[in-house]
Amino acid sequence: MPTRSSLAIAFRALRRNRLQTSLTIIGMTIGVAAVLAMIAIGTGAEAAIEDQIRAAGMNLIVVTAGNYKVKATDDFGGGAVEPSAALRRHDDVAQSSGACEKISVVCATRVMSFFSPTLLAHPEDDPMEKHDHPTARQRLGDSEAGLGSAATLTAEDAEAIRGIRGVQYVAEGLHQNVHVKAGDKRWFTRLNGTDLHLPLIRRAWTIPSGRFFNAGEQSRAEQVIVLGSVAAQRVFSDKNPVGRDVTIWNQPFRVVGVVTTTSWMVAPAPGDDQFDAVYMPFSTVHRLLNLAKLNDITITAASTGEVSPIMSEVTRLLRVRHGIGDEKPDDFTVTTQARQALARGGLRPDVARAVVGNVSGLEKVTLEQLGKTLDRATRTMTALLAGIAAVSLLVGGIGIMNIMLLSVTERTREIGVRRAVGARARDVRSQFVLEAVVLSVTGGVIGVIVGLAAAQGLSRYLHWSTTISPVAVILSVGVAAAVGIFFGWYPAKQAARLDPIQSLRYE
């Protein structure tokens, strides 16, 4: 029997019982709409949590030039401080022979590095040397030139990191303390040479006026600047700074935008490092100060779970790029934002180092595990919601079965007539299965529409975050069809089994 005419038969039969047909379809609609809306809410919550984790910087990795941990071992005698990953290989030796031996190992390494032709020979690149960035030291003349002032990271390193799988954004970082002048106003603040993607990394940022500098300005190393809201307030009071010029290093810079935040987690305040600050393309800083190195590189992972693998991949990559042999320690430090915050959070540097050294494992647990735990929790919630909704789908299916069984009884004579005019048992069966499938798929399609509308409504009016994936939509309709076949099969079998003569006589 051609499928088309089977469908025609099924449609005709359903049209004849409009009320029953529509009620059954409504049952199915509710089921599918509920499942879809629940999945939308669940995945939406998942995405929202992931978002918040990202906003909190849980996916942030910072690579800083220099290796202060090596120094820490050197300076404070090891004791409470955990050796860096690179040094761990020497642990057995170091522990058996004591601190003195350890230092001598380090010293030997240093000598080796100096003469080894495979290593960078520039003394600045020696991770063992406790030195500040010469120009930075000259310019700043203060104690700022500690961590991150070793000149080992390059823009090419950053570019290479962009190629690592799972890396979302990479921003080069150059930091200077500068005087920003406009008219008679002057403000001493932090200058960050960075990448145009920084606003995407600082997810809590908003740009109330103007914009961040763009790719063209970055590649041409133009003298454009973005002001943090605190710096903007200090220099321009309440005037809109966009379009005006500021002077730094006796050079004019065009203000293209202002950044601030509406997040409750970070409030702009004088002395903070994000909004009492100014931003310009790192290329501009390079050009004007005639620099080639970076202080740090900020990286975000596309997913919080990938932070650890990316950290180790960055380490591996930079070691290769910097030509660091197996026995040598890193000439850079890979850390997460939280760890960096600790190191910077007002503790005395040596205490901070000690804390960071001891807490590194714990911090991993709290941040990454927390991220994973939240992921799991939301996934469980999604499953739960979808499970509850699936019950309504089941009820819809039972509704279909009920109506089909009733229909078989009601239409016994019709079945007899169809058999008498030449319908085979299987024609009758396929008609009833098709009717059930038409019911369920129609209900499913309407349910998809209703479910999409419900999800839209929830996100618009209740501000719940909902995410609708095409997979969920296709799956819902597929499940609806499967429900139709499953619950339509038994009634259809009953219908096909009827004896033509008996059904013709049926009153």
Binding site: M1, A8, R419, A420, V421, G422, A425
Partner: protein, 256 residues
């Protein structure tokens, strides 16, 4: 097939229903030949086996014993699907209760057999055209879109006849076709049957318990207790057309 070979050749068929242990012998050895173009009226009291006989002729049921050759082919033990195909192509049914699908237009009811014509692909347009032709043959072309509950009993039965004729069957099996009709419309239905026999040479087997309806047949077969008790040509044959003309003359009444 030679011209004088019977269209229906039934030889010694029996039908036994196993009912609660005690078997019921509905047919106890029926032998009968029906030729093309015959109008056979089967009469008998209820329980005489005439309905069972018709079901077997109509391939709705299989005999327990004996042989049934339909147009030379033994159909006594064919599988269900083959019997369905035979019903679809070679047999038209007309029932006492009309058996039209409710809430379905006349023309859609008539189309029904074509939906199950498995071996030939018929387009919906062709289906509709043939259904309309069949409706016109019973004088209901202007009632095509009416639903059964909008039609009189006689009209419903004519729709059922149009449906039975749709696939040009060789045999028309009518089970008490006038049972639910008044005498006037009964005559109209008989007129259609007689015209079908005369104009198209359709073989008609009419089952009835009313002797006066049986009189329209060209041959009367009498059943009793599952056996044929008499089988002879109808000597006092009534002609529906003449009776209708007489009635129309008497009182110039409106038909339909």
């Amino acid at each position: 097939m030679s011209a004088d070979a019977a269209l229906i050749a039934v030889h010694d068929i029996t039908k036994i229903y196993a009912m609660e242990g005690a078997p019921v012998h509905a047919l106890r050895g029926v032998t009968i030949d029906i030729h093309r173009g015959e109008f056979v009226a089967v009469v008998g009291p209820s329980g005489s086996g005439k309905s069972t006989f018709m079901h077997i002729l109509g391939c709705l049921d299989r005999p327990t014993g004996g042989r049934y050759l339909l147009d030379g082919r033994d159909v006594s033990h064919l599988p269900d699907d083959d019997l369905s195909a035979i019903r679809n192509r070679q047999i038209g049914f007309v029932f006492q209760g009309f058996n039209l699908l409710a809430r379905t237009s006349a023309v859609e009811n008539v189309e029904l057999p074509l939906l199950y014509a498995h071996d030939s692909r018929i387009s919906p347009g062709e289906r509709r055209r043939r259904a309309m032709t069949a409706l016109a043959a019973v004088g209901l072309e202007n009632r095509a879109e009416h639903h059964p509950n909008q039609l009189s009993g006689g009209q419903q039965q004519r729709v059922a006849i149009a449906r039975a004729l749709l696939n040009d069957p060789a045999i028309l099996l009518a089970d008490e076709p006038t049972g639910n009709l008044d005498s006037r419309t009964s005559v109209e239905v008989m007129d259609i049957f007689q015209r079908l026999k005369k104009e198209r040479g359709i073989t008609i087997v009419l089952i009835t318990h009313e002797p006066q309806v049986a009189e329209y047949g060209s041959r009367i077969v009498r059943f009793k207790d599952g056996r044929v008790v008499s089988d002879h040509p109808n000597s006092s044959r009534r002609t529906a057309a003449e009776e209708l003309a007489a009635v129309a003359l008497g009182a110039a009444e409106d038909q339909a």
